[in-house]
Every structure is written in C-alpha cells, then in structure tokens.
C-alpha cells in the first residue's frame, strides 16, 4: 500500500501548522509545551508539542503535495498521486468549498505517476504538475483551477479509452514536453511566467509559459531532482542528483556555480527561506541534515561553502524536513519511524570572556548576550577571578602589618600563612631567632640547619614530668628546638595565653591536644569542660581523659587504643594516640595529616630524637612540595627552598596574587630581583591589576616591591635657552639647605618640609632667562601660586575636581607639542577645546594618551 515514506511540510501561512503525509495526510498544530496538554499531544522539542488537528485518508499513493499559496485561514492542498491524478483537497469544510476548488480533480489524459505539483506563487490559479513518461502525452501540464468544470464542463472523451468512468474533466491550459519525464519543477517567484524543470534524467530546462515552443535555457546535467528556486532571489536555483548538489545561476545556466559532492545519495535539498544562501540537504539513511552556507566570493571565481551538519532528534534516519517559512532557522524533521522533531538551527555562536569577568556570546544573527559577575549565575561557577579582585580592592598584601592581610583573604590556610609570617617577623625582630642575611623569615629547616636531608642537630635527652601526674616522658631539648617551637607558636611553657587564644577561636580540641602534648593534663581537661558548653560531647571526652593512668597495661589504655579510631576530630585522635603510645615513634600522632602542620612539627620537635626528627621534617617537606600545601612555608621559610612550594601551590590554585605578595613581603629584595620565577609572578600580578584598572593598587604594590630601590628620576627640566639642567640646580639647592639644617639628604619624610623652605625660582639659574609660562595665565613656571578659594572658577562642585584641585596648580605639558601650563587651567581649557591653547599650535593635545 503506497509508500510509508513520510514527508513533512510547514503551512506557508500559518506559523504553527504543519502536515506530514505518508499513507494519510495529517495536519498538526504546534503548541507551546506550557499550554494545556492533551494526552495525545506529542512532544516535538523541548518546549513545543504537536497536536493532531485532522487526518485525511482520502488519498492513497500520495506522491507529492503543494499548498495553495494564497489563503488567510484554510489550507488547500494539491495532492499528486501515483495514478497521475492531482486532487485539490482541504481538511474539513473550508472557504474553498464555496468557490468550488475543494474536491477538484485534475487528470492527465494517460494515467501515470505524478512526480511533482507546484502552485504558481503569483498567479495562484495556475498549477503545474510533472509526470512520468508516456509516449503520447506531455509530461508537464499547467492547469488553471478557476477554469473549472463548473462553468465549462467537458465530459471526458478519453474515459472510454482509459476504461474508467470519468464524470468531469478539466483540460490543462498548457502542455509541455511530449513523451518526456518531468522529475521536478519550480516556479520563479519574481517572474511568475518562468518555470524550471528537471527532465529525462539529463536536462534542466528553463521555460517561459507564454512561449512554450522553445526553452530559454537548457542544460545537460544529472542533477534534475528537487529543483528549487531560491525564495528571495530568482537568480539562484538548487537541484540534486545522486550524490551531487548543484547550485545554478539562471543568468548563465551553462555551468553550475557550485557543485557539492556528498558522501551519500542525496534525498532532499531546500533553501532556507529566512537566511540568504543557506541550503539544507538530507542524505539517504542519514540522521543528520547538512547545511551549506554559500559564501559569495569577491571576484568571479567559485564561491566557497561552509558546511556543517546538525542532528535533530535522536539518532534515527530522517526521511524529510521542511524549513519554517518565517521563523529564523527553524525546521521540522521527520524520521522513518515517524518521530517528528521541531528544531531550530543554532547559528554558530562565538563567545569571549573579558578580563573584567564578562562573558559574551552571540545569539542568532542579531543579538549579543552578556553575563557578568553581578549576575547570580556567575557566582555559581565560583570563578576565582572576582575573589582575587575583591582581595586586591581590600588591599590584600598591602597592609602594613603582615597579620592584617590574613583576614582579608577569607581563607583559613592563607590566614595561617600570614599569621606565621607575622610571628616569625616578630621573633626575628625581637632577636629571639637570628636570621641570616638573605632569609627574613627563617623556616624550621633553617632553624634546625637541615641541608641535603642532613643536620648537625645535637639535642639533650630530658625526662620531662607531667604537670599533674607522677610520670615522665622522654623529650628532647636544644636551643635550636626551642627556636623551632617558637616558630610553631608552641611557646606555652611560660604562659598559657596562647592556649587561651586558641580557645577563643573555638578550637577547644586543638587547645586541649596541645596542652596534653605539653604534658598539662589538668588544663586539657579544663579546656574540654569549657568547650562542653558549646559542644556537649567534649564533656564525655574530658571524663575519658581524666581516667588516664600511668599503668602500662591498664584496661583504660586498651580501650582507648581501640575506640580512638572512631573519633572524628583529628586533635582528639592525636591526643589519645599520644597517651596510649607505647613506642616512642608516635606514628599515629605524626601521621594525623588533618592537624595543622605547626602542631605536628611542634610535637615532633618535642618528642622525636634527632635522627627521627630530621627524617620526619624531610618527609614532611617532600609531602608539602608534592601537595603544594602553602602552609609548608613554615618548613622552608622565605628561603630559596620555598620556591618549588609556591610554584606547586600556584599550579594548583592559580593564586598568583598570594604568591607574588608573599614574595614581595617575605623575600629579601636582593633575591627577589634576581630570580626570574619570582619576577614572572610579580609581572603577572601587576598585569592582572592593570587589566582590572586597579592602577592605584598596582602603584602601591610597586612601592612595596621597590622599597629599597627607588627608581631614578624620570623627567628633568632644562632651560630653553641655555639648555642647562634647571632641576639639578634646584636639587643642589635643596641639598645645601638640608646640610645646613643637618638633615640626611635622602630622608624622605623631611623632603616635604624642605619644599616649603626653598625659594621658588622663576628664571633659569644659569642664564637668567624666564622659565616657560603657563599658556593660559601666562605666569612663569615657578611663580608663587595664588590661593584659589572655594569661590574660584577653577574649582567646580563635583567631589572629583575638589580632589584634583590640589594638583591643579602643578605644571604640566603636552608630550607632543611641549606646550603646557597649570593643570587646572589646562583641564578647564580642554573642557571646551580640543586644540592646544598656544596661538598657532594645532596639536590635538587632549586626544593623545587618552584612555
């Protein structure tokens, strides 16, 4: 029974109706998925569904359909069938019933398959149909459907020949192509008398229906199927045959302007009606639609084509597709199994991400879409950039006291790092720890003199007593270990304030564990009881602790050893591990990696023998190198050993900010300016600040960076007449004054005061010619300035200009024409002018160097 091959076509004038045909003709309406759904509706895309409106099963063996192009509401279809008949039909009662169009049948003299049927787009009463070959009939018939049998009834004289009862019969108005085969045909849109047909498997013919005796053009080609004139431009025609798609220019049919060889047999081609030069094509047994975007060439050689393929729906072979007549790039595709997909071809999207955290992409041909860090969606991705920017704005790393920087970072790890840098600085400053020349912040390895995994450490074995119980533990002591403990913040022997501080931070278990490691069982229990007010389970822990006995083989030890594994808190685990430990290796304490590295090292420095300690420190160093754990800076200090650690941390986090700030704040300048890695980090961070236009912050960073290396003077003033250096003279003058007053001449704090002291000069000290004048007020540079009160014209009401008012009396000049004057005067001038204020100078000073 006929072909089950499904075809699909959009209604040319309804934006939401399409129909498919195979055995029957189905009319669908596209609805938004948000509207009321019926059980029977089929989802055809993520947000549209199709509702079946009507089914027409009057016709069997439907070969081709075209929709009447002129209508407001109802659909009139011309249905070409396998028996050659073309029937006009509607879905249900319609306006066409009254004009007698519905139900009209157009029958050729000899029945054979109708291959194509097309309404004339302008003269809508004309319908062209193309047929298979018959030796005594024409293959292209053009009918005038208004000259129907109702006014001119001709009873079929051929009915007897055909042996078929025929009641009424319309004769075609034009017959073309005797005993030809017409495979496909298409009307021209702008010129409705023209027709292009693919015939006899070898010819493409362009015809004028007013002059049918000879073709306008005829071209031999295999591409005779699916001829279609471009919807917006009559000059272009596409057709296909086998695996070739050919594009023709009708002004010169001799050679196709484009021939696209496809990998498979082509089954359909169609121009996109909403976009110029876009052709969709479908291959046999392919689930993809291929799009060919024809690029017009500049010169007269072959245009090039951008091809891409899209896959509407699941991976099922498609049988047909149809472009939506109006909606941009929308098409509907139908597969062998009958699945319908409503698909919008996305234009290729280009996108970009700006340094100021905007993401932009193109949507369709017209629109750019933008999101920025102000949008909620952006915060969801937790981009690190805005965080770094926030820190930079809060002057992260620029704060005078090192510990202040930690709080800005909003990160516990980084806070600890800055706190430690502060601690080591205070220890060095107070002389508790001696630092070598190049290492401002010595690390544990420096203190313990570990080099190449060897150390000359010599410690004394001490039996330390517990504070509250009669028992001793083996500990080791040496001055170096003492210093190391200080660096870990473990200086509790004399005062317990440090413990209290930890308590205040809310880490009761940490305080308790440290108290235990310092052999203060009672204070540990007290701390836990205090903590119990907030974390009730700590009271139980405290009770357990109080049962600690000195006996080596007690039940308590046995049970604690077994149950401590169930504790989740690393400090409690470590504390119990320490209490029940029989050996003196304390593996369970030292391997508790969730404890802060400070505490682990503090513990190791107290209880491990020299060889064990060195081995443990080396192990730990390797570990932090591998993990890029920045808290490992405690081990390396600000020595060269710190660099691999920072590099690894940077590789993991891209936190170039922290890394470069640590370099600048902690490293010796001599080292910093030598090392290319440090320099590259610093340069990276500076360029980042620059790209965010945080120039003030960058300048502050530069000041820190070059604190011991003031850059040389950049600008000198020399006299116009004698070319001698004027500024050198002035500096000499200042220096002399300073000597007189007994002040160190490069003491910056006194510099400001000195400016007031020195007399302004208004002429060159060498040749006594006047210095340059302000182009506006004509006073010489160096003239004592008069005070511009708040009423003065120069100061406007905006806050910004008040701020700049202090600079408004500075002398400035154009870099190009070298004319200048007081900044305030000039900025007033350039508010209204773009040219230089000096007579005869046409320099556009203002526009240069303008950001």
């Amino acid at each position: 029974m006929g072909s089950s091959r499904l075809e699909v076509i959009w209604s040319p004038y309804h934006t939401n109706k399409f129909f498919t045909w195979g055995n029957d003709i189905y009319l669908y309406e596209v609805r938004s998925i948000k509207e009321q759904m019926k059980q029977s509706d089929i989802n055809i895309s993520e947000n549209t569904s199709a509702r079946l409106l009507a089914t027409n099963s009057n016709y069997r063996y439907v070969k081709c359909i075209d929709v009447y192009p002129k209508s407001e509401s109802d659909l009139l279809l011309a249905v070409g069938q396998a028996n050659g008949k073309v029937s006009l039909t509607t879905f249900g009662p319609s306006v066409f019933d009254s004009v007698g169009l519905a139900g009209v049948e157009l029958t050729p003299r000899y029945a054979r398959q109708c291959n194509t049927v097309k309404w004339n787009p302008a003269e809508t009463n004309l319908l062209a149909s193309g047929y298979e070959k018959h030796r005594s009939d024409h293959s292209i018939l053009i009918w005038d459907v208004t000259k129907g049998p109702s006014d001119n009834r001709i009873y079929g004289s051929y009915s007897s020949v055909l042996g078929v009862m025929s009641t009424e019969y319309i004769r075609p108005v034009i017959e073309i192509g005797l005993s030809d085969i017409a495979h496909s045909l298409s009307w021209f849109n702008q010129n409705p008398h023209y027709l292009i047909v693919g015939i006899n498997n070898k010819n493409l013919k362009m015809l004028d229906i007013r002059e049918i005796t000879s073709a306008i053009y005829s071209q031999t080609t295999k591409a005779v199927y699916g001829v279609e004139v471009a919807p917006y431009d009559d000059n272009y025609v596409v057709s296909f045959g086998d695996n070739q798609i050919a594009v023709w220019d009708t002004r010169n049919l001799e050679k196709s302007i484009l021939s696209l060889t496809q990998s498979k047999i082509v089954s359909k081609v169609s121009w996109c009606p909403t976009r110029r030069n876009l052709i969709g094509s479908l291959h046999k047994e392919s689930s993809a639609i291929h799009l060919h975007d024809i690029q017009q060439s500049v010169e007269n050689n072959e245009p090039s084509v951008l091809s891409r393929s899209i896959q509407p729906g699941q991976n099922m072979p498609l049988t047909s597709f149809s472009w939506h007549p109006k909606h941009e790039n929308r098409l509907i595709a139908v597969s062998y199994v009958g699945a319908i997909t409503d698909y919008t071809v996305f234009e290729r999207m280009t996108l970009n991400w700006s340094p100021s955290t905007h993401i932009v992409w193109t949507y369709g041909r017209q629109h750019l879409k933008l999101i920025s860090d102000h949008d909620k969606i952006y915060s969801n991705i937790q981009d690190f950039g805005p965080k770094i920017k926030r820190r930079a704005l809060a002057e992260y790393g620029l704060k005078e006291e090192l510990w202040q920087n930690g709080a800005i970072s909003e990160s516990e790890t980084l806070d600890n790092v800055w706190q430690w840098l502060h601690l080591s600085k205070t220890l060095v400053d107070s002389g508790n720890i001696t630092s070598s020349d190049n290492i401002y912040h010595p690390g544990i390895r420096n203190i313990l003199h570990i080099e190449n995994n060897q150390s000359t450490l010599k410690s004394e074995l001490v039996y330390s007593k517990w504070n509250d119980i009669a028992m001793t533990v083996v500990t080791y002591k040496s001055p170096a270990r003492e210093n190391a403990l200080q660096l870990c913040g473990w200086k509790f022997h004399s005062d317990s304030t440090a413990l209290e501080r930890i308590e205040l931070e809310g880490s009761f278990t940490r305080a308790a564990a440290i108290a235990i490691f310092n052999l203060k069982l009672r204070s540990a229990i007290n701390i836990l009881f205090k903590g119990a007010s907030r974390q009730p389970h700590l009271a139980v822990i405290a009770m357990a602790l109080s049962g600690y006995s000195t006996e080596k083989k007690s039940l308590w030890r046995e049970m604690c050893a077994a149950t401590k594994e169930q504790l989740s808190d690393p400090y409690l685990k470590a504390a119990f591990a320490f209490l029940v430990d029989q050996s003196s290796h304390y593996k369970h304490v030292l391997n508790e990696t969730e404890m802060l590295i400070d505490d682990r090292i503090g513990f190791a420095c107290t209880f491990l023998s020299d060889t064990d300690l060195v081995e443990y420190i080396c192990q730990l160093t390797d570990h932090v190198y591998e993990k890029g754990d920045i808290s490992g800076i405690l081990l390396t200090g600000s020595s060269e050993e710190c660099l691999p650690l920072l590099q690894k941390y940077l590789d993991n986090t891209t936190d170039v900010q922290t890394v470069s700030l640590i370099c600048v704040r902690a490293f010796a300048p001599s080292f910093l300016h030598e090392d290319s890695t440090c320099q590259s980090w610093i340069e990276s961070y500076r360029s980042l600040l620059d790209s965010w236009r945080l120039w003030v912050h960058r300048a502050k960073f530069d000041i820190l960076l070059n604190v011991n290396k003031v850059p040389p003077q950049q600008v000198f003033i020399s006299c116009n007449f004698c070319a001698k250096n004027t500024s050198a003279f002035m500096q000499e003058k200042i220096r002399n004054k300073a000597k007189m007053l007994g002040i160190q001449n490069n003491d910056a704090s006194n510099y400001q005061g000195l400016r007031v002291l020195h007399d302004e000069i208004t002429s060159c000290p060498h040749c006594r010619k006047p210095l340059p004048r302000c182009a506006i007020c004509l006073s010489s540079m160096g003239t004592q300035s008069t005070y511009f009160g708040p009423e003065s014209k120069i100061i406007t009401h905006s806050i910004q200009s008040l701020k700049s008012a202090e600079c408004s009396l500075w002398f400035t000049w154009c870099q190009t024409c070298r004319h200048g004057g007081h900044a305030g005067h000039l900025s007033d001038w350039f508010k209204e002018h773009s040219e230089c204020p000096v007579t005869g100078c046409s320099c556009n000073c203002q526009s240069l160097d303008d950001l």
Binding site: D41, L52, S57, F91, V164, S304, S354, R365, I377, G385
Partner: protein, 360 residues
Amino acid sequence: MFEAHTINAQHKDLIHDVAYNYYGNRMATCSSDQFVKIWDQDEHGNWNLSAAWKAHSGSVWKVTWAHPEYGQVIATCSFDRTASIWEEIIDTNILKDSGGRQWVRRANLVDSRTSVTDVKFAPKTIGLFLTTCASDGILRIYEAPDIMNLSSWTHQHEVSSKLSCSCLTWTSSFNRLHVPLVAIGSDDNNASTGSKVLIYEYSEAFRKFSKIGDTVPYCFDAVHDITFATTHGRSYHLLAIATKNVRIVKVKPIPDNVVNIQSGASKFEITTVATFEDHYCTVWRVSWNVLGTVLASSGDDGCVRLWKSDKEYWKCVSVLKGDGSIPDTAMASDAAATLSTKARYLKLGPISHPNQVPYH
C-alpha cells in the same frame, strides 16, 4: 528566571567574532556583512555602539585588540584574503558628537592568496608582532619595527603547515624561561593528515619558528578554535581546543638544563587533561577566563558550557542556553514520541469511488 543581558548588534549577517580589549571595557564585533563594530562600556555598565564601518570586501572572520600600550588598535582578517590593522584617531573634521574619533586603516596585509582565517597579536613581551593564518596553511608573522608607525609592517616569517588553518593562539607568560609558543588548529577533515593542532616555538635569540617535536595527542578531527590560557606564573600552559569535543591539553615546558642551547629547541610534556563530549556535536569556540581557571565553550547544540577544574579534575559547572536561559533539567527529553500514539479527532473516511482505484 535568569535572563542574560542583550545587546542588539544589528549586524546584517552572522557575527563571527567578539573581542574584548585589554581592560574589558571595549568590545569589537565582526560579521559576514563585512562590517566591524566597536562597542564601549559606559560607567553604568551599558554597552554603546561607538563605531561601525565596512572593513573588508568579504566576511570578516576574526577581530582582535592590541595591547593598549600601542594605542587603540585592532586587527581584522577576512575572506577577502587580507588582514587589516585599524587605529582609532581623533579627527577634528568629524562632528564633535562622535567624539571626533574615527578608525582608519593603517595597513592592509595582502600576502595571503586564500581566505585569512585568524589574526592575533603576539604577547607584548616579545614586541609588536601580528600573526595571521590562512586556509592555505601558512602562518605569517609580521612585525612593526617602529611601534609609533603602525602602517609599516615587515613580513618576518612564514611557516607552512600544509594543512588548512582555522585558528591560532599565542601563549602569554611573563616567565623569561618560557619560550613563546604559537599553536595553530586546522579544520582539515581528513583524519589521515595527522594531528590538527600544531605548536611552534619562537626562539627570540634566533628569531625563528620551529615546530615542537611533540604533537598534541589524539587530535585528528577538524579544529575550529584553539586558545591558550594566560599562564599567570604557572609552570605549564593550558590549551583549550574546540573540535568535535572540548579538549584541554597541558603543555609543560621541561626546564632545559640539558637541552642544547645551540639548537634552541626546548622539550615539552604534552598531556590531555580533559575531554568533554557534553555538547554532543561540533564545538565552535572556546574562551578562558582571565586567570585561566574556567573555560567557556559554545557548540552547535546552542549552549554555552563552563568548565572548571577541581584539583586536576575538570568538570562542567554551568550550562547556559543560547538565549541566556538555564535549561530545565527536569524537562522531558524524549521528543521522539511516535505517530502511533496520537488520537484522531477528525477523520475523513475514505471515499470509495471507482476512479480512485489505483491504476497499476
């Protein structure tokens, strides 16, 4: 529901590229309508069109900004086989309301015999260099010897890759020990022509480009876009590749204590760190955030996807549809209901008519 901000670009055809300047406050777009448009952001964050002009006689593929140190300069490349350098100047002859600003063509580089598919400025650290690549597979490097004179560009190098090039990218690193690298991608569809991503190193001392021996693994499909992340002090470069999937490749220079200084050839360790198939189809563009920690990609599925690494492991952190909305994940995905499931509420019965009988 979240909606992205929209700018109506009013290009008459497809927009091929959008580029931000160094500060992210100016934007350039280029299109098949042969126009280039410049957009400036005002203090309220709104984007306003500040200039538009017909830049080429063919589709304009790419546009890129030079470092602001060289002025307000962009470079464009086009199907018309040329690349152009444009500078914004002040012309007092122009009406004041446009700020008297105007973009003028400073140079037109006409060496290519085929469509110029990408144009990029080299990182500032090596000077004012412009690189173009074309569908004839040739990478061309131009230098402006005098940065004050943008109309004079000398054609310094020509590197032939023998593959139709579609995109190129430079590494950007401040580390003097890192050799500048330039990677090119090819849209050649033929898998037998080998890797579609080629990386060249630029030796400043010898002023020459040499292909690095190691190839990017498994990249045999047509490459549409390629971008190095800004290195920001990291010891490795990250290269994002848009091909039939999104691919992130790590290019790690191996410190050259042993490498022969004479040959100038460095060693690299190239590993694929992530491959994503989430777009299901061709990926068109990729772009890094400023730190090189998050990657955005756009594909033929009409979505923008964002990728982020969490300790070496990369994953998708966000999906945005082309119109800026977030796809509803709860949406029923099976659009493939079959015809047999539907009911018919209007059915015209077959008419049994003698002349309806099929002929054959």
